[in-house]
Symmetry: C2
Subunit: 105 residues, 2 copies
Amino acid sequence: MTTAKIDNVTVTTQASVYFDGKCVSHGITFADGTKKSVGVILPATLTFNTGAPEIMEGVGGECEYLLTGATEWVKSGAGEKFSVPGNSSFQIRVAAPYHYICHFG
Amino acid sequence: MTTAKIDNVTVTTQASVYFDGKCVSHGITFADGTKKSVGVILPATLTFNTGAPEIMEGVGGECEYLLTGATEWVKSGAGEKFSVPGNSSFQIRVAAPYHYICHFG
């Protein structure tokens, strides 16, 4: 089941632009202070470093990801999630826009 | 005064991606049903067509815009707004990311 909308949040109007725009996200904050982001990755292969652990939830398109220490790329699409440990990194590759919600912690 | 955050909205998780990602926005809906978007334009010169009239409000960076029928490019930055008539078009050029809120109607 894909999360198409998120209600009752505060949106940060300025986007975060990574890798010359290959990844663009907007931060959202829930009433309880929880922070997430909604973003899109455009066709590219990118490496992200994590501070806090992250859960990536696909909401459109699909990606393949490779966690540090893993040997196989794994597909993940809309309605699917994958977890990335904190203080780690992962590669992600995308052939068409992959839309996601990033959950932290 | 720059609008850094917008409270109590529903965010559409899937982004709108225009011009191969030179413009990326996320839609937001207010409690009263009003729709706006928050987006970013990356370095490029782009032409947008309007259906409804639009007010572009800068929240980061700056742009230059040229309305249909105008002869001079006009600068607009964070905390500034410009209006575009409905059923019209405008060109916008940006040397560094320009973050905006788009108000419709």
